[in-house]
């Protein structure tokens, strides 16, 4: 079979396109669950990219069917790696979903901004700091000692 430029391009476009879609999805979505889903898409793209690394024209799956002579086989290493990568992805997604369940229960929302706001509020509340980012003088500040050239330099004024 003659290698065609089309197949190559299509496969790469698919893989990298999946990654791009996933990235765009993560950036654009406002909902945490959608972000996780977008992450899954991106992961699929990366896995596809990995498995493409071992593809070979005119080759069969890397399983020996007969002893002795065997036809050209595709690279088994990326396949093994992709197996690993998929399972890793599954684990992380499962964890992500379980955390999402909890967040939903605690905050009643999965909107990223609302969750962030809730989170900020809770962190500030636990730490005991004021949450607003007002311009008040930072901690440990005291009024400056009497300054040269200001009328307040006389500490108590006339006696």
């Amino acid at each position: 079979m003659t290698p065609t430029i089309d197949l190559e391009l299509i496969l790469y476009i698919t893989a990298l396109g999946l990654i791009s879609i996933g990235l765009a999805g993560v950036v654009l979505s406002q909902h945490l669950f959608r972000m996780v889903l977008a992450l899954v898409i991106a992961e699929a793209g990366a896995n596809l990219m990995l498995v493409l690394a071992g593809y070979r024209w005119d080759a069969v799956a890397p399983i020996l069917t007969s002893l002795g002579e065997h036809p050209q086989m595709v690279d088994p290493v990326p396949q093994a790696m992709v197996l690993t990568a998929i399972v890793i992805g599954v684990g992380i997604q499962a964890l992500a979903v379980s955390i999402l369940i909890r967040i939903r229960q605690r905050f009643g929302t999965l909107d990223r901004h609302e969750v962030a706001a809730h989170m900020d509020a809770e962190i500030a509340q636990i730490a005991g700091t004021s949450r607003d980012m007002s311009q008040e003088s930072p901690l440990g500040e005291r009024p400056l000692p009497p300054l040269p050239g200001t009328p307040a330099a006389s500490r108590e004024g006339r006696s």
């Binding site: 311009q135 000692p145 009497p146 050239g149 006389s154 500490r155 108590e156």
Partner: protein, 625 residues
Amino acid sequence: MTLTLLDELLLFSGVTVLVALFLGRRLPAGWMVTILYGIQLLSLLKMAPLGYGGDPIPSTLILEVMGQTLSWRFDALSWYFALITLGSALLSSWYACGEWEQRFRQAGGNVWLFHLAMALNVFSMLILLASGDLLSLFIGWELVSWAGFLLMAMAGGVATRAAMRYITYAMVGAMAIFGGIALVYVSAGSLQYDAILTAVSQMGTPHLWMLVILFSAGFGIKMGLMPFHLWQAPAYAETPGPGSAFLGAISSRMGLFAILLVLVKLFGIVNIESLKIPFTLIDARDLLAWIAVFTIIFPTFTAMKQNDARELLAWHGIGQGGYMLLGLVVADAMGAAGGLLHVFNHATYQAALFMAVTAVIHRTGTSDLNKLGGLVVRMPLSFMVLLVGIIGLAGLPPMNGFVSKWLVYRSLLNEGMPLLFVAAVIGTLGTILSVYKLIHNIFLGQLRVEHEHIKEAPWSMMIPMLILAAIIFITGLLPGIPLAWVASVQEAVGLSVPNYTLGGVESASGSLDMIWVIGVLFAGFGIGALVFYSAGKSKRVHQLDNYAGGHFLTADIRYQYSDNFYAGLMHLIGGWYRGSFLWLEKSVKSLVEFLSLGMQGIYRRANAEFYLLSTALFVIAWVVI
């Protein structure tokens, strides 16, 4: 391995720290520490040949750390500064013992911490003075900075705030020096003085410029040189009494020491002079000289406006540092001698002044110049000490300040720098005006009712003050004594030496002999006294035994006001007090605040994934395209 004299000194100093640390909670700790300072001083005096051109004394301690050799040694320069350090430490610590300490403890102060901080300061200063290479210099420098921070911050409250300001400035300075050291290390391949000396001669102009700026800024911050002077006065003024005497006497002179060592000895005034600023007629040395002059003028006139005795003195401390630097960068024999001699003189009268003011605070509980007055009848000895001190500070005969300032002026005229001379004289004018305010508002005028029954300061405080006053007068009378040390310092850093005599200096352009000057002066005083006592009897009356406007005075009527001093003068020049540097400081701080806010915004309002995406995009785009 036999211990050299320097080892001995550092050992004693270390022991002092340990004693203050472990035994400092016992009652006689102050005396113990004072005696140990005395022992250190004796040990230093054993090295006295250094002050008369002796060979440097190395320490046997040489450390090899991370490929760097750290060594320590004493030469004439170190010895001279160490003498001032230990002298002021001894007297300040002595002053602190006894009644002051008890009062301090009653007021909730931590005496143990005070003595520990003092001992740490002395120890770290000695380490700094003994440094035998740039790295040990930096180590000593940092130690001095943090020890100073401890002493300044320990009073709490406003003092901590001032100390925080100090440490921020000091860190800026330290980092400038650190950067400078890195650059030096790269070009010299080592931080030993010899290697740097050879490397400097091969450095290009931009490189040298960079180093001069970094080092003079770094060391200058400690000295309170002009744009970086704001921290010093509040920090010193808020330190507990004897501590401020000690710090005011010597602490900021560490900057001068380092400038001498690095800029004068290693880089050489000639090299600095060769750095021209393009399109102007001035070079780096002139720049330093002008910075010094502005450091004289501005803080001195700021001091004039102070209404707190200690702040006033602390502002003067900054201004006087300008004279020292001015003398040094003029760098002819007499100017450098004047600058160096001024270090000694300044230490003596500044310590005496701070002590006298602290004595007044000890008795009256306030250092507010608007709430004092007339104390001369109650505290005559303190008045005498203060008088001696301000005469020295103002640079008038017969005290020692006159000698050093005379030398500086003389050299300015000799070297043809009339503008600098005029500026320096303006500074002195400000000094005279403000020290008059000091002595007037505390000791002259009307005694307040509430101060009717106060006594003279206790002897534990009086003796160190009187010793200082005596030194101020004697070195004013016989400036040849310190000039001998100064001469060997000049030799050690490679400057030319003036032709000094016991009574002053001889030179073709004009000599000074203080013995004659004082002789003439006292003769004048004698005539005055003759006239005064021969004019008839005078009668001593109570200050309220008087009348004004046809009425007898009563205790609740003030017939003399001391606040709003120099109202007329302020009317003339008051508009010039604009606080520009304060504004500068504040704007830097606001800038940091603003940037900090922005950075927090980056982290808090984060769309982290977007950051990641755009970073990946830009980084890869940069590579691919």
